[in-house]
């Protein structure tokens, strides 16, 4: 059963159909996938490739497929962000601090992925502890975006972040699906910059158990893929309440494809002015507006008089709440129990301080300091408490807006993929990348970025935001949009062994 490498460009559901039909085996698919990932090594999309594990899982998948037990993910290669704990596979969080840390158990999401028969090929690169929007803040070097080349034909653009590795490997047709995490846009923004789909589910929809924590009240694990059906299948596998995560919601999990037949007719699409203001690159605005027009042409009603006035405060709110939570979440990395440790210090305190000093990168230190400051005696009321109050207001505004419409659309990011080092020394410019995605984490609603065109040869993403636990609506819209525009099927030029 020879495997044609061209099949690697297929989506997960196409693979699933072929596997069930016996066109090729999961083992053949996995071997070819691993071969391609090795060829694409210079993308630096993976921190760790788990070849032996993947082949073992492929054999198990084949056994299931032989007896007709295959599901939509059985035998399908999936990349897993290296923030998700994997048993016996090192989980670095992109940090020197956890360079050699091997978890003793799988996170719930990976456990569910395994139960679905997926083949996990490796741990994808990310900004350290998911703090960043370019994957440049990884202790393992930046990931390259398969789109965008300089005059010499070298890949010179960031993939976005923090789930840059997960987005880049899906865009480069390394794997059809991957898992990312999204705290302020870390799935949607890299999906947009790499020309693929990425969803942040509703807060509480997916378990965080075993996901290395950055900002607990904001983050969710979510799927990255190349069409709505794949994203729905992966979300289906990981969603649902988890006894190990008290913040997962006791909400039934629907069939995430239940709205695929509905189309766009009668859909009320909210277009808030706040997401189209200053800072938006006109080259990005153009394809986004075109996508809205295309939806209208398909029978959608465009609702422009919705108001989200407080989203202008979302960025400052985020940069108080997220670093505050991070300052506590990262306090456990002290060199005492596991991970990187300085052991020749003058005292226990000295060793702890030097462990952090040497183990954490600059962006992590910046956020830990921000959060520590915001929570300090005398500042708590002015910063953290006020931020929580504004958060409640923002959540209320989304709720009200989504009474007037079924989805809110906006650009996912105000710009396309930028060049390496372009924003590395300007944290605020970097933070502005998440201007449109952060409010959705603040509110807790689901958000989905879908490809909607190109600007100067680089992908542009359209963000869809829905009511809490209505991911199916967003996926239905995405599916309908794919029928009228094939942006999601545009592939970057093949990534050879040399960019």
């Amino acid at each position: 059963m020879a495997f044609d490498p061209a099949h690697l460009d297929r989506t997960a559901h196409e693979h699933a159909a072929a596997l069930r039909a016996g066109d090729y085996t999961a083992t053949a698919l996995t071997e070819a996938t691993l071969e391609r990932l090795r060829q694409q090594e210079h993308l630096n999309a993976y921190i760790t490739l788990t070849e032996d594990l993947a082949l073992r899982q492929a054999q198990e998948a084949d056994a299931r497929l032989r007896v007709g037990e295959g599901g939509p993910l059985t035998g399908v290669p999936v990349g897993v962000k290296d923030l998700l704990s994997t048993r016996d596979v090192r989980t670095t969080a992109g940090s020197r601090m956890l360079e050699d840390f091997t978890p003793v158990l799988d996170c719930t999401v990976v456990e569910r992925l395994n139960a679905a028969g997926a083949v996990t090929v490796g741990k994808t690169n990310l900004d350290e502890f998911a703090m960043g929007s370019s994957t440049e803040h990884s202790a393992f070097g930046p990931t390259r975006n398969p789109w965008g080349r300089d005059g010499q034909g070298n890949l010179d653009r960031v993939p976005g972040g923090s789930s840059g590795g997960s987005a880049a490997t899906v865009a480069a047709r390394g794997v059809p699906l991957s898992l990312g995490t999204d705290t302020g846009g870390s799935i949607r923004q890299p999906a947009a910059l790499c020309g693929v789909l990425g969803m942040k589910p509703t807060y509480g929809r997916v378990s965080r158990f075993g996901v290395v924590a950055f900002a607990s009240s904001l983050e969710q694990v979510g799927p990255i893929g190349r069409d709505a059906e794949d994203v729905a299948d992966l979300l289906q596998a990981i969603a649902g309440q988890d006894q190990m995560d008290s913040t997962t919601a006791p909400v039934p999990v629907p069939d995430f494809k239940e709205r695929f037949a509905r189309g766009l007719d009668g859909l009320r699409v909210g277009v808030p002015a706040e997401f189209f203001g200053e800072g938006l690159d006109p080259a990005v605005r153009q394809p986004v507006e075109a996508a809205i027009d295309a939806m209208e042409a398909q029978g959608a009603t465009i609702v422009r008089d919705i108001a989200l006035p407080s989203v202008r405060a979302a960025l400052p709110v985020y940069y108080i709440i997220a670093p505050s939570e991070a300052s506590a979440n990262l306090a456990r990395y002290d060199g005492v129990k596991y991970g990187f440790a300085v052991t020749d210090g003058l005292s226990a305190e000295d060793e702890m301080a030097r462990t952090r000093g040497e183990g954490f990168g600059a962006e992590v230190k910046r956020r830990v300091m921000l959060g520590t400051y915001a929570l300090s005696a005398g500042y708590y009321d002015a910063y953290y408490l006020k931020a929580q109050k504004v958060r409640t207001v923002i959540r209320g505004e989304f709720e009200a807006a989504l009474e007037q419409c079924d989805v809110i659309v906006s650009p996912t990011s105000p710009n396309t993929a930028f060049r390496f080092a372009e924003k590395l020394d300007d944290p605020y410019a970097m933070y502005l990348n998440d201007l449109y995605t952060i409010p959705v984490n603040i509110a807790g609603n689901p958000g989905l970025s879908i490809p909607c065109g190109f600007a100067d040869g680089l992908p542009v993403g359209l963000q869809l935001v829905g009511r809490p636990f209505e991911e199916a609506t967003l996926l239905g819209v995405a599916h309908a949009y794919e029928a009228i525009a094939d942006w999601n099927r545009q592939a970057p030029p093949p990534v050879g062994t040399q960019g």
């Binding site: 969080a93 840390f101 996901v211 607990s216 008290s246 506590a328 702890m352 300090s376």
Partner: protein
């Protein structure tokens, strides 16, 4: 601690000071599992680091799941102490770095604890007093540091078994005025916890830990003096002595014209003094903020009522009932209700003995039974011996029917504690039945008068106490099986009549 520069020439050196004391008490709850994971909670006498998991080790990505039993126990304590149980409460993170704190923060409760207010009535030197409570909250215990010094270097080992155990913190108002009051409060508190069976509260085992805030002020003054926090006490006795020392020390500082420094002082058991540990300036800023991994708790009235319904009768109520129901003196009732188990054993024996025997049963429990138990240890209970309430009941019946004498009863009980045999069987097998035949006793009396002319002469010459010697002689001859009153009256009858 006393600096001459601070001498206040307005200080009245003969002023009468009043001490003001508040306590912070930590009590380990006797739950099956730990506070946030399913590990066995017991750590006393366990192999170090044997009761641990990824959660209580603070591994990356691990999440807490609240132990419902610990919450129920805390609310039960609150109900027993007359606290308000607010409908809404939450957990918070208390941030501070220390090697025994695996996450770098402790999950505790800051501004919305499970229990508010409340009081405990105590008695000191026969005087009733009331100690009011501020609050009771629930938190997790830390790991244990075992300090070692092998000569070459000093280091600490960490035992994580205790990490994440449920710990209830109770804070009193500054209502106490002496070490004796603090000690009485702790005794009563421990008894209440044991009645509720939610904690053993053994201070020597670290199951109850107590810090004292001590200040003094001129008697009659409203404003509180500068408070000093005293730590490191490991018994009720050391709490009392530490407070007494601290009051004395502060009075002396003031008498010498010094000022009290707000600080933390440690009690040194060996020397009975407190020594300065750290001043207020070095105090931690804990940067509390709401725990994002645990949704706020909402307790409805039904839940609280269900917990209340499971509560046993408490010591004060039981004591009052014993006094009226069994016609006991306050002291007798107090002794019998000192521990829940003893009070229940007593009532079981009363029931087994049948009507009308409460008093002899009570006297046995307060007297001989208590004496035997005390020999086994300060807190020994009947269940640790072969003797059951049925034994005591049967013995009380034998006494009441004068089938054994008081002397024989002691002997019978001693045998029962040794062998577990029932009292009637012991009496039967060993021929210990009381001699009830007056003729037989009178015959022995006649022989003893005959054999002891000196005592007879003394008696007749007015030294009436000489009869005691003769009673003893008759009792010895009757092997304790004669009733002392009967012996005495028969002897008197013979001596006074001149025969």
């Amino acid at each position: 601690m006393t600096t001459q520069a601070n001498v206040d020439y307005n200080v009245d050196y003969n002023v009468d000071y009043e001490a003001v004391i508040g306590l912070e008490v930590h009590i380990q709850l006797k739950t099956r599992s730990k506070m946030f994971c399913s590990c066995d909670r017991e750590y006393f006498d366990t192999e170090p680091n044997s009761h641990v998991c990824a959660i209580c080790l603070g591994m990356p990505g691990m999440l807490p799941v609240v132990n419902e039993q610990a919450v129920a126990y805390t609310i039960m304590a609150g109900l027993a102490l007359g606290c308000d149980i607010p409908t809404h409460s939450k957990f918070d993170r208390k941030n501070y770095p220390y090697p025994d704190l695996v996450k770098g923060y402790q999950i505790s409760q800051y501004d919305q604890p499970f229990c508010l207010g409340g009081k405990l009535d105590i008695e000191v030197d026969g005087e009733p007093r009331t100690v009011h409570l501020e609050r009771i909250h629930l938190e997790e215990d830390t790991a244990r540091l075992l300090h070692r010094d092998d000569g070459a270097e000093a280091y600490a080992l960490i035992d994580v078994n205790r990490s994440g155990s449920p710990l209830m913190e109770l804070v009193t108002q500054p209502d106490m005025h002496s070490g004796a009051e603090a000690s009485a409060f702790l005794h009563k508190l421990r008894r209440t916890m044991r009645y509720l069976q939610i904690a053993d509260a053994d201070m020597e085992k670290g199951q109850l830990r107590c810090d004292a805030n001590v200040s003094i002020r001129p008697r009659g003054q409203e404003a509180l003096g500068t408070k000093v926090e005293v730590k490191n006490m490991n018994s009720f006795r050391s709490v009392q002595r530490a407070i007494e020392f601290e009051i004395e020390r502060q009075a002396q500082v003031l008498a010498e014209g010094g000022r009290i420094v707000q600080e933390t002082r440690g009690y040194v058991d060996a020397t009975g003094v407190t020594v300065s540990q750290r001043s207020k300036e070095e105090a931690n800023d804990y940067r509390y903020f709401p725990e994002p991994d645990i949704p706020p708790t909402v307790l409805d009235e039904a839940t609280t009522q269900a917990i209340r319904a499971r509560m046993p009768e408490l010591p004060d109520a039981r004591r009052a009932r014993f006094e009226s129901e069994y016609s006991l003196s306050p002291d007798e009732a107090r002794t019998l209700t000192d521990s829940r188990e003893r009070s229940e054993d007593f009532e079981a024996a009363v029931r087994a003995a049948g009507g009308g025997l409460a008093r002899p049963v009570a006297l046995l429990f307060i007297g001989e039974v208590a004496r035997h138990l005390n020999e086994l240890g300060q807190e020994a209970e009947l269940s640790e011996t072969p003797v059951t309430p049925a034994h005591v009941a049967e013995l009380a019946g034998l006494l009441e029917r004068r089938e054994v004498t008081g002397t024989t009863a002691k002997e019978v009980l001693a045998i029962a504690f040794e062998t577990g045999e029932m009292p009637a069987a012991i009496v039967e097998a060993r021929g210990l039945k009381a001699v009830s035949d007056e003729g037989a006793i009178d015959e022995i009396a006649a022989r003893m008068i005959e054999a002891n002319p000196k005592a007879v002469e003394d008696y007749r010459s007015g030294k009436k106490s000489a009869i005691g010697f003769l009673v003893g002689q008759v009792m010895r001859e009757a092997k304790g099986r004669a009733d002392a009153n009967t012996v005495s009256s028969l002897l008197r009858k013979r001596l006074d009549s001149g025969s």
